[in-house]
Symmetry: C2
């Protein structure tokens, strides 16, 4: 039935809601009851919970394989795969000290998953690890995963963390401290981050801190299971959730995490009232004649109400849906010529050009006082003019401020030059604008500029070699001339991003782990505030200055987060165009409604687990060779990583 | 000249002793002085320590490359490579806060190493990192190493560690705690354990604890530099070393670490006394006419004296020299038939067969009282008889004890059967011994045995599938029969073994990191006592028992060791042949003078750094499939590793 539709987000899996059930050997009836009750799928045990392999063997002399579950014929293949998530027996304890129980658990786990796989289920829910160690459980699951076709395994993890900020590193063994994330982290590390292993969070009635919750959104969480006893009762006797639980669920919806309701009906729901009215829900109460209302229906209705009351997805988010967590290699605009389609996309970003126009206007007014506006002609050079948007913004700024302008449009891409000539004719700018078909680094300018306008910025600021280009262009800027932008700064931020990590890992090579990617972050947890990395100023007065840079950053993850896994670093930039006019994507100061830049992602070859109170120290180098520029990066605390991208062996930008 | 010769260890590099010198632009004179002074090589600066690139550039306008060192022609190529280790300028500080100094250091480092490489030097000595961080230094060295042909880089590391056992994990930043090993570990981890990067330890006048010293012998230490001020003065006015320093040097000699003497003459050496007499040295005082005695000659003589007073290498060690740190794949004696050469080697191990003879003798006496010795014939079956050594040992035991014996020699290798038949004829054993050409797992025995004798043990006890074979053979052992061996236990011990790690890494695949190797350990540091892993008993009375095993071990590295890197686990076995007669290679109880088994090595894909006070927890599984048996292993503390060898994908033993 689905929880409803959210405008612009129709493909979001989280509109499907499931229900956890007890074992029932009449699967058709179980399914029908719950589907008619409004749920989209059931999370149901596949095998009688009384089954134990060790009992079987001794009673029938060793054949070992008995009909331990119902027939596959009771449902159609599509019913099995669309509506049933297999719930692996919860008595399993693969790390028990009792060897017999351990062996029974191991055999049963393999049998149940083999059965679920035979039924082509989409997923199985694995019971939560029982004790403080889970190595044998992890090993068995790991063995199974090696031969599993498409099925996902959801490891159930209770969403709990005790609140002691300061603990000794080996107190993980002790009972007093508990952070279920550490169990998950150990389990998935033992299993080498297998992409078919994900998490089903058991949402309990009390929630850990916001920071502690946030790290999960970078993990492969597929489902959140909410027991009916985590609900409150509203004034009218209906189930509802605390504000913090509501926020958590909204975040789940936003991260494509499906909700599963479990447990018994707790609230004593008033009879006769239409549930639809109670929460203003769009769901029709599908009261099939003669069928009883599902005991968890009011919980489902409440979840649907939360789903539907979300704001529609903003237009920009909708536009960028297809790019979420999709790794793109950064442009090489210096080595390669951009294509028309790329210009087309960039030119639509009106916000960006409005900022440029504002910056040019301010610079013009500063440079030429009102009283000289009609006599002085300012020489402005757009370096990297492309198909002309910055030429247009500059001319508009001149018109707006009443200043006289002479524009040079310098562009190295001969294809863009063609369009530029045509633009001049169409707009009648032939007398105002001189087109120069040249690389700015070697152009021999006929005069010097008052203002140099460029937009050579990458997601990480200097990563498309703006510094090297503007060093070349600075030759023809007057001593007191203005560069727009006048500076830009890159930023780094540690993130949990298991999806990106697995996508990179799937290439099975070093090169992909030493490359930075442009990516629209979605299933990513940002673990601290970003910190500035490199700053470049233009014009640069020091003659000895090189564009080589080295910075060491020290991040402190808030201690209430608990431990977290760092898969790499999100990179951003902010640029001062002129005085107070800036442009950028650093989250705290990001220019709104601008879509020219996604963030950049610098991965770590081995994700690093950072424990509370231990700083994360990272080193970043910008290295310059004769034909290329590249970054190297590495971590030295909590422990050292290899230096990534040594000598630019994997990732570089050509000069 | 060399420090002398040690019997059986003629190829040991540590017989060469070097001397650290100041910069001298007359290299031929410098070399001649020191070689004639008795040293084998000099560690000498290649460049004037006053040189700074930044000064140069400003004075000559930017050509940048000046003759910064002498000509390569002053020495012959073989002199450069045999007698000179380049000493990189000690003023270099690549992690200085002063950017100018950092840049100067970086340029100079590259120039000096390029020059040393041009001279084909065998090694360069890199100055010790100056501060608490070394990331930029490590990055530059890492860049250099990527393009370096054969030259070794020796990173100078002071051998020092403060004594605070219990410290918080992030106090590495603080000044109070200092463990230079951590600096080394960070440096080499940033550089991905490059095999051309090694250590030159600066031995200071006070030494850290024995445990703390021991971990270095698993690291790639190439040289130990001893300053003259670390020497004491003996009663006759000559330099000598403390007992602890002497022991350290002996260990260095044993691990092929070269000694370098540095500093000034401190002691006021009595003149006129023959140094040779003073330490009973074999060195002739090479007093070349007119040349002054080398000021450090008495230090060199003392080192030579220490070298020469070492015991000669034991015969077994000498025999095994060629196997040191050489990784061998374990035998597959069940799948493959052994070759004659292998039998030949094993049969020479008389100690082993003496133990078997003792065990059989005790079993015979227990089984048959003296008064029945002439009436009762004991049925003894040798399963896996090979070319007959256990048959011989059994018959000798019978003779020794005066018991009557009927022997079945069961062997699956048809080639060994040929030899067995010939042996019977030669020895006249035809009436005593019945040869059975069959796999013991499927032999249909005509009678049951009193005693089952086998030697199917691997370095890790059960790793050549002794349990599976003896399970098969147990069918024809009497209810109260005796198995020799009656049990065996495997052992695990965490080790630092950077040489082995690099050898495995050089294959650049997963398979080699998930394989166990038989290896004669040499440059290995054993970090704790071994702990038992799996035990198998024979005969096994439980019918339900499987040969699947799972053990979790928890190692506590002594806190005074400091942090250490665990590259993997050494594996051993001990076996109870019968009652108090045992056989094994577990170091604390190892059977002396036995050479049939080297230890086994289970590597870790990523070496794990263990800090003081944090336990090392490792899990080991013995898994049994229908056609193979394999181990899986993984670490869960201090952090989780992947499970190694999942499903036996990389390493297994065929059934």
């Amino acid at each position: 039935m689905t929880l409803g539709e959210r405008q612009g987000d129709e493909k979001n899996d989280s509109k499907y809601c499931g229900v956890e059930t007890e074992f029932n050997d009449d699967m058709p009836q179980l399914l029908s009851l719950n589907i008619h009750g409004g749920f989209d799928f059931v999370v149901a045990p596949l095998m009688d919970p009384a089954y134990r392999p060790s009992l079987l063997v001794s009673s029938n002399g060793g054949s070992g394989v008995l009909p331990f579950a119902g027939s596959d014929l009771v449902l159609s293949p599509s019913q099995w795969s669309s509506h049933v998530v297999g719930k692996i027996s919860s008595w399993l304890d693969l790390d028990s000290e009792d060897e017999m129980l351990r062996r029974d658990s191991e055999i049963t786990l393999k049998q149940e998953i083999a059965w679920a796989s035979h039924l082509s289920l989409q997923a199985c829910l694995l019971p939560a690890p029982k004790g403080v160690t889970c190595a044998n459980y992890a090993r068995c699951v790991n063995q199974i995963l090696q031969n599993l076709s498409n099925m996902q395994l959801w490891l159930r993890i209770p969403l709990e963390k005790s609140d002691d900020g300061n603990r000794s590193p080996n107190s993980m063994q002790g009972e007093e401290h508990r952070d279920s994330w550490e169990m998950w982290n150990s389990f998935r590390t033992l299993g080498e981050h297998h992409s078919q292993l994900s998490v089903a969070l058991d949402v309990l009635s009390s929630l850990p801190s916001v920071n502690s919750l946030a790290r999960w959104f970078g993990e492969p969480v597929r489902a959140a299971i909410i027991n009916s006893n985590s609900f409150l009762t509203n004034a009218r006797g209906y189930p509802c959730l605390s504000k913090r639980h509501q926020n958590l669920l909204t975040e789940c919806f936003n991260h494509s995490i499906q909700i599963v309701i479990s447990g018994q009906q707790m609230q004593n729901i008033p009879t006769g009232t239409s549930v639809s009215n109670s929460h203003n829900s769009n769901n029709q109460s599908e009261g099939v004649e003669g069928m009883q209302r599902h005991p968890l229906r009011s919980y489902l209705d409440y979840i649907a109400y939360l789903y539907q009351k979300m704001d529609p997805l903003p237009e920009q988010e909708r536009f960028e849906l297809g790019y979420r967590d999709y790794l793109q290699s950064p442009l090489q605009p210096l080595m390669d010529n951009l294509e028309a389609q790329t210009y087309e996309t960039f030119e639509k970003d009106t916000t960006k050009y409005i900022q440029y126009q504002r910056a040019v206007a301010k610079a013009l007014v500063d440079r030429v006082p009102d009283e000289k506006a009609s006599t002085i002609t300012t020489v402005l050079m757009v370096v990297g003019a492309g198909r002309g948007p910055l030429v247009r913004a500059s001319l508009q700024a001149a018109e707006e401020t009443g200043r006289k302008l002479k524009v040079y449009a310098v562009e190295k891409n001969p294809n863009a030059i063609v369009t530029l000539h045509s633009l001049l004719k169409i707009e009648g700018w032939e007398k105002l604008v001189t087109i120069v078909s040249s690389d700015m680094r070697c152009w021999d300018a006929p005069e010097k500029a008052d203002i140099l306008v460029s937009e050579l910025l990458g997601s990480f600021g200097d990563n498309e070699l703006s510094p090297e280009c503007l060093d070349g262009a600075q030759r023809f800027l007057k001593e007191d001339g203005i560069s727009i932008p006048s500076s830009y700064t890159s930023f780094f931020q540690p993130v949990t991003a298991s999806k990106l990590y697995n996508d990179i890992k799937s290439h099975k090579d070093l090169v992909h782990f030493e490359t930075a990617y442009v990516v629209k972050f979605h299933r990513v947890a940002r673990l601290t505030s970003p910190q500035p990395v490199f700053t470049f100023n233009h014009p640069e007065d020091s003659t000895r200055k090189s564009n080589h840079r080295y910075t060491k950053l020290r991040f402190e993850i808030p201690t209430d987060t608990g431990s977290a896994l760092v898969h790499g670093f999100a990179g951003y930039f902010d640029s001062v165009l002129y005085k107070d006019v800036h442009l950028g994507i650093e989250p705290s100061t990001a220019t709104p409604n601008m879509f020219s830049w996604f963030p950049i992602f610098f991965p770590l070859r081995t994700p690093m687990c950072v424990q509370p109170g231990i700083p994360l120290e990272v080193h970043i180098w910008r290295c310059c060779g004769t034909s290329k520029v590249w970054y190297e990066w590495g971590v030295t605390s909590p422990s050292s990583s290899p230096i990534h991208n040594c000598n630019g062996r994997s990732y570089w930008v050509g000069l």
